[in-house]
């Protein structure tokens, strides 16, 4: 059999649909190991360990015999972007079916070679044995032809009850090397003859270079090249500290002209005055049981622009040799990046190879793709020499695409029966995706600064049901009447793109804060009030589980200093279910002391991975919600250092208990972004429970708290 057969339109699971060849995904090696070629990448979420578990399970192979190949445009399946908590559903399901089919092919070949029927064979750790004697290893059975065919997905993977590796807390494969300080990241890559590059960005978005005499920089020790192309200026030097010194000198002597184009201040309400496209995304006009509302409530909730703020500034290494570009990058989408690089360079995609190497956690679209273009542009200036570029901390804060500022206005009527009779949700935001691969432009920073500038593609939103700015804007609760409108502000004064959970953080913050306000107006307990409006059994289960774990008491009251609050959502309304309770202590400022969560992500492939992601999501969201805001004046982003942008510290970190509701017979739902929305609201609700003060504008800083209490 060869490829080309079975091209019927039968839909295959996950990313098998778009990458149908088995040998795109798996290779059986002569030594009995199996190499996995995932198109999804590790961004600190532990996905690669999970994919190895899935393959080991279906192939009846020890974990130690499974190898991982880095994602590489010359070899790997094209799985688009690693984002949206979709890796298990897309890559994991593809590999599950591909591995089951490969095992079946190996069994069939073994049956022929051993001259027995399939029923007489068993497979254990890569050895297929016949009951009556005789055995062959996978390595002995496989050759290049075996997997050179399209997947059929007709071999059923194991049932959950048969799983021995899937569903267990296999330790992360990458952690032993990382805690030993072994080179693990693109930042650690060292190639022979490697040079170091640094970029001098304009002082602000509107900056245009008016004067630069680079001769004195060219003469600095170690400087190999000063690159200037329009408003893009950069240095290449032999040593890293030499490149940094040259960058600083270049920044000092360059002169720029700037416009005052940014909003007056960081208050997100500027969005309300912008031109917006309004789209009604949910409308329900059912009968309400109660005659006449007893009360109507309105509230407005906001979040400013916030940063991904990766601990490791973005980095890439590139080389240009004999007309071929190679770039090592921590991009979340090596294929879309290659497409945009080709547009900037004006070359065919075939002349560019993009290879993934891990970076620090990114939490969405940060500078990873941009620095890949920076490195490629500098490599082109010094052919044959690899160039490593790492952004400085100031570059990362000033130039990464932020999570958009958002404003949500809620309105609801409460019936005499204590139920919500009507509900309205209006959200104002910029689009939440400007990743590479967008249509009609190039989404790589340096491309906009070149003498022949490329235009960025317009910010967009992933479509519903997942959504972008409108992600989780439609409530999962059961209301007879509802009206949800997305007001999309296309023109963004600050650069924005996908930040972990996209609009869900703010939409759920608004919905779940407002549910609390309504519960209080109805004189109801907030947990019971949620259950009163919720039919979805799995949603009810996480709410009930977290309340039980936290020992929630009906109508419990804070004591003027401490209080607790709850938040819930089903991520994207189609992913994992998460409920969070936080306990806050408010003295001079708000401190989250403890948090409890319950999560149902369907089948848990690696339970500890889900718990780790949920703990991390809660902790990061506490930081977003209490502390974070990008600041700017009319010309420039003024947030440049960790002093300007404090994040949660070890002194402030809470204890967290996560309850996992595993449903082995349900499809896995992804777990990377479920906690963000519920946590933000749980904090606001806990503050109200403690003090009777309602915080609606993030971040809940000391100044805001004092202002709200007066």
């Amino acid at each position: 059999m060869t490829s080309g057969e079975n091209t019927a339109a039968r839909k295959l699971p996950g990313s098998l649909e778009t990458n149908r060849r088995l040998d795109r995904w798996l290779r059986v090696n002569r030594d009995g190991t199996v190499t996995v070629f995932p198109g999804k990448v590790e961004i600190g979420q532990g996905i690669l360990t999970v994919l190895v578990q899935i393959v080991a399970e279906e192939l009846d192979l020890a974990l130690e015999r499974v190898r991982l190949a880095p994602a590489d445009t010359s070899r790997s399946p094209n799985e688009g972007i690693t984002s949206g908590s979709r890796s298990i559903q897309e890559s994991g399901m593809a590999l599950r079916y591909a591995a089951a089919e490969v095992r079946d092919l190996l069994m069939q070949r073994a049956a022929v070679k051993l001259g027995v029927s399939l029923e007489q064979l068993t497979a254990a750790d890569g050895v297929i044995a016949a009951r009556g004697g005789g055995s062959l290893t996978y390595g002995e059975l496989a050759d290049d032809d075996l997997l050179a065919r399209e997947a059929t997905a007709e071999v059923a993977p194991k049932a959950a009850a048969q799983h021995a590796v899937v569903g267990t807390a296999v330790p992360r494969l990458d952690i032993p090397a990382k805690v030993a300080g072994v080179p693990s990241y693109v930042q650690d890559l060292e190639l022979p003859g490697m040079l170091h590059g640094r970029i001098v960005r304009p002082p602000g978005y509107s900056g245009r270079l008016t004067a630069l005499d680079a001769a004195e920089v060219q003469a600095m020790p170690g400087v190999v090249a000063v690159v200037r192309d329009g408003n893009f200026i950069a240095v290449v030097a032999g040593r890293e500290e030499q490149a940094i010194r040259a960058q600083r000198r270049l920044a000092r002597i360059s002169q720029w002209e700037e416009q005052s184009a940014l909003p007056e201040n960081s208050d997100p309400r500027y969005l309300l005055d912008c031109v917006a496209i309004a789209e009604v995304i949910s409308e329900k006009t059912g009968e309400t049981a109660a005659s006449g509302a007893i009360s109507e409530l309105e509230a407005e909730y906001t979040r400013p622009h916030i940063a991904h703020a990766s601990i490791g500034p973005s980095c890439a290494v590139a080389q240009f040799t004999d007309g071929q570009y190679t770039v090592w990058t921590h991009s979340q989408g090596i294929f879309p990046l290659r497409g945009d690089l080709a547009k900037v360079l004006g070359v065919d995609e075939k002349s560019i190879t993009v290879i993934h190497a891990e970076g620090a956690g990114c939490y969405g679209h940060n500078g990873a793709d941009d620095v890949a273009l920076d490195a490629v542009l500098l490599a082109r200036a010094v052919p044959g020499r690899p160039v490593r570029v790492q952004w400085m901390r100031e570059d990362e804060f000033a130039w990464e695409p932020y999570g958009s500022a958002m404003v949500v206005r809620m309105r609801a009527a409460l019936g005499a029966d204590g139920r919500i009779a009507s509900w309205s949700h209006d959200v104002w935001s910029h689009g939440h995706s400007t990743r590479p691969g967008g249509k009609g432009g190039v989404n790589l920073l340096a491309g906009w600064h070149l003498a022949q500038p490329l235009r960025p593609a317009a910010p967009g939103n992933p479509p519903l049901p997942a959504g972008g700015s409108h992600r989780n804007a439609i409530p999962l609760y059961d209301f007879p009447q509802q009206h949800v409108t997305n007001h999309l502000v296309s023109e963004a004064p600050l650069r924005v793109s996908a930040l972990r959970s996209l609009g869900a953080h703010v939409n759920v913050f608004a919905i779940e804060s407002f549910m609390d306000e309504l519960a209080i107006a109805a004189g109801a307990d907030p947990v019971e009030f949620r259950l009163r409006h919720m039919k979805d059994a799995r949603a009810r289960a996480v709410i009930e589980a977290v309340a039980a774990k936290a020992g929630w008491k009906p109508r419990e009251q804070g004591d003027g200093m401490r209080g607790r609050g709850i938040g819930f959502s089903r991520y994207k309304n189609l992913g994992c279910y998460v409920a969070v309770i936080t306990e806050v202590e408010v003295e001079n400022e708000v401190r989250v002391r403890r948090a409890w969560a319950a999560i149902d992500a369907g089948q848990a492939i690696n339970p500890d991975g889900i718990v780790n992601q949920t703990e991390g999501g809660i902790t990061q969201t506490i930081s977003w919600t209490l502390k974070e805001r990008i600041d700017f004046d009319r010309q420039r982003v003024t947030t440049r250092t960790w002093q300007d942008y404090p994040i949660l510290t070890f002194a402030e970190a809470p204890e967290i208990e996560v309850t996992l509701i595993n449903r082995p017979d349900q499809p896995p739902l992804g777990a990377g972004e479920g906690a963000q929305g519920p946590t933000g609201a749980a904090i606001a609700n806990a503050i109200f429970n403690a003090l009777g003060v309602r915080m609606r504008d993030m971040p809940f800083t000391r100044d805001r708290l004092v202002a709200a209490m007066i």
């Binding site: 952690i175 080179p183 060292e190 991390g616 970190a653």
Partner: protein, 156 residues
């Protein structure tokens, strides 16, 4: 200029300007990649090493300032095959997500446990004042350090 510095117990001759931050000498001259660049301003702890017993941010120290002193990096603690009790505790607690900050945090913890084998919760958190973690792995990292402290005390 030529300088001799003692890293992980071995004198090493290097050629670099006196004001070169120690971090770049460790990473690029000595190929010790465990200390990582995070901010270049001593604000995040990704580049933490131990100099004469004290946790120090190597991005913020000129290499000439450590001449005649003892510099210890994460590579000197243990290896994948033979991890130091602190490294083992981080594995046991699965106390990492992206892991970029972790080698710096382990070095801070090592400096703490060397002088205070029985730190209280407050002391551990205070010692980590210079270390940032963005993935939100704080609770696990604190557990790992407590676990390591217990194991190291039991072993002595």
């Amino acid at each position: 200029m030529a300088l001799t510095i003692t890293v992980n117990g071995t004198p090493r001759e290097i050629t670099a300007d006196a004001e070169t931050p120690l971090l770049y000498v460790l990473r690029n001259d000595l190929q010790l990649k465990g200390a990582r660049f995070g901010c270049g301003a001593g604000q995040c702890g990704s580049c933490m090493v131990i100099v004469d017993g004290k946790a120090v941010q190597s991005c913020d120290v000129p290499v000439s300032a450590v001449a005649g002193k003892s510099v210890i990096t994460i590579e000197n603690l243990g290896s994948v095959e033979r991890p130091h009790p602190l490294q083992q505790a981080f594995i046991d607690e699965q106390a990492a997500q992206c892991g970029y900050c972790v080698s710096g945090i382990i070095m801070t913890a090592k400096a703490l446990l060397d002088v205070n084998p029985e730190p209280g919760e407050h002391e551990i958190r205070a010692a980590l004042a210079q270390n940032l973690c963005r993935c939100g792995t704080h609770a696990r990292i604190l557990r790992a350090i407590r676990r390591a402290a217990e194991k190291m005390r039991a072993a002595t």
